[in-house]
Amino acid sequence: MKVGFIGLGSMGAPMALNLMQGGHQLFVWSRREETTRPLVNAGATRCASPKEVGAQAEAIVLVVTTGHDVEQVVLGDEGVASGAKPGTVIIDCGTIPPDTTRRICKELRARGMQMLDSPVSGGETGAQAGTLSIMVGGDASTFDRMQPIYRCLGKTILHMGESGSGQVAKACNQLTLVVMIQGIAEAMVFARANGVDFKPIWEALMKGFAGSRMLEVFGARMMNREFVAGLPAALHHKDIHIVLDNAQSTKTSLPAGALAAQAFNALMAQEGTRWDSAAILKVVEEMSGISSRDRT
């Protein structure tokens, strides 16, 4: 297929390469032109604007950061929609508010186009290996038609329902993760304040009901005080606030989510962009006056 690709950051670039390896013809645009170079070297066509991408491609994949960016790139002047023909499909892989997705999708449908909200999870490793989980919202027959694209990007590809429901699923995922991260941090602080080594507790808990992938990975990072590798806390921070904005507009009470958001705010206030989400442990420790320089 003729596939447009906009947003070639640490997630987008390997995803675009996987599409090329899958035999698709790529049309790329990026705000920072130098990020298009590896793709152009691999045979992609560089476009002058999102509008030109829209004019060339049947389907356009977006991997940009915020809801505002998506709106700009799709509906703004020189945006994808201004160049695209009716029947064009936009696949938005960013994590943005469900409301924004629904609004953009409605606008596009009025012009005879479709948009599938397709947020992913699995991080850079999943993007490189083509093993992302993709949660899709939007028109079901369009979803079926886009399978050749999805299959190059991910492994678990699920249609969640109407437009916005992919973003809702991703929001549920992020809400669950951030609350669990703080839960793990609290358990660790509780053990430490009682003078008990967490390692054997972690081993005991992994085998029981409290066991999870998160406890395995983040528990280990917290014990080893590996706070800079892995998943940037800034992304969880952004995502939990998307969740809380949605809770505000849908009048949903999410007390644990709100509490975790506050912990992430506190982390962001401490050179936030450096940290992995495991560093939430430091926030929880500091609340109890436990110095983070201590040995765990």
Binding site: G161, V179, A191, A204, R213, M214, L215, K251, T252, L259
Partner: protein, 296 residues
């Protein structure tokens, strides 16, 4: 090797645990406040006693399995308590879930009398007790743990020595924090999905494939969606265990925000008369707060 065991507390957990010890060939002296709860044990060959002190006479190991912190204090240190009957060199093994602070204090008092102590709280519920598959988290001296291990192996499967006295209770506290916070996280995520009109079953399905996966999402998440709240682990017991965690946190100045929040939600649930339901019924508290009562 036959061990002379005193067993105090023959409730829903203690009775099957004691029966398993008898079946494995150990000699039991039993005591329970209500005479009728001793009967099944007497039928199986145990000796009925008139007090905790009486059950401790001539026993190498004295196991207590009672409800709460004051009960253990009473049974072990009270008049006609274990301490009045236990021989020097014998071991008291408390398998109840109680305050780690009290566990350490009791251990000190016993040590002054030449009696050893292990705290060995369990998880796995009455089903684990009946089948001898409990998880047992043990605090106390390693050599004392080694002496009692043959008995633990009759009652449980996943047996971990965590550290010194009180460490088993700390591990159990960590377990209850993590289980509670994860249940809360999933209750909020499922509510967010439903309030947005998304198919919560599909959302759960998508989340099971990724980082948010956990045993709690698998089992409690399903209970929430199926509206099947028969226990499992009763909300009032989870509430009691988290009260112990929060009491410890207050005593030791540990800030545990998420655990505190979940404890409040369990209060709300028990306050609504739903304490006999599984703790996954926390979802009802979240739903009520979001005006979704009676939904589904």
């Amino acid at each position: 090797m036959r061990i002379n065991v005193g067993f105090i507390g023959l409730g829903i957990m203690g009775r099957p645990m004691a029966l398993n010890l008898l079946k494995a060939g150990h000699k039991l002296r039993v005591y329970a406040r209500r005479v009728e709860s001793m009967q099944p044990l007497i039928d199986a060959g145990a000796i009925a006693c008139t007090s905790p002190a009486d059950a401790s006479h001539g026993s190498d190991v004295i196991i207590t399995m009672v409800s709460d912190t004051p009960d253990v204090e009473q049974v072990v240190l009270g008049t006609q308590g274990v301490i009045a009957g236990a021989a020097k060199g014998s071991v008291v093994v408390d398998m109840s879930t109680i305050s780690p602070v009290t566990a350490r204090e009791i251990a000190e008092t016993l040590a002054a009398n030449g009696v050893e102590m292990l705290d060995a709280p369990v998880s796995g519920g009455d089903i684990g007790a009946i089948h001898g598959t409990l998880s047992i988290m043990v605090g106390g001296k390693p050599e004392v743990f080694a002496r009692v291990k043959p008995l633990f192996e009759v009652m449980g499967k996943n047996i971990v020595h965590i550290g010194s006295n009180g460490a088993g209770q700390v591990a159990k506290g960590c377990n209850q924090i993590l289980a509670g916070v994860t249940i809360e996280a999933i209750a909020e995520a499922m509510t967010l999905a439903r309030k947005n009109g998304a198919d919560a079953y599909q959302v759960r399905e998508a989340l099971l494939g990724g980082f948010a996966n956990s045993k709690v999402l698998e089992i409690h998440g399903k209970r929430m969606l199926d509206r099947d709240f028969k226990p499992g682990f009763k909300a009032r017991l989870h509430r009691k265990d988290l009260r112990i965690v929060m009491d410890t946190a207050a005593k030791m100045n540990i800030s545990l925000q998420q655990a505190g929040l979940v404890a409040q939600h369990l209060n709300a649930l028990v306050g609504r008369g739903l304490g006999e339901e599984d703790s996954s019924a926390i979802v009802k508290v979240i739903e009520r707060a979001s005006g979704m009562e009676g939904a589904q």
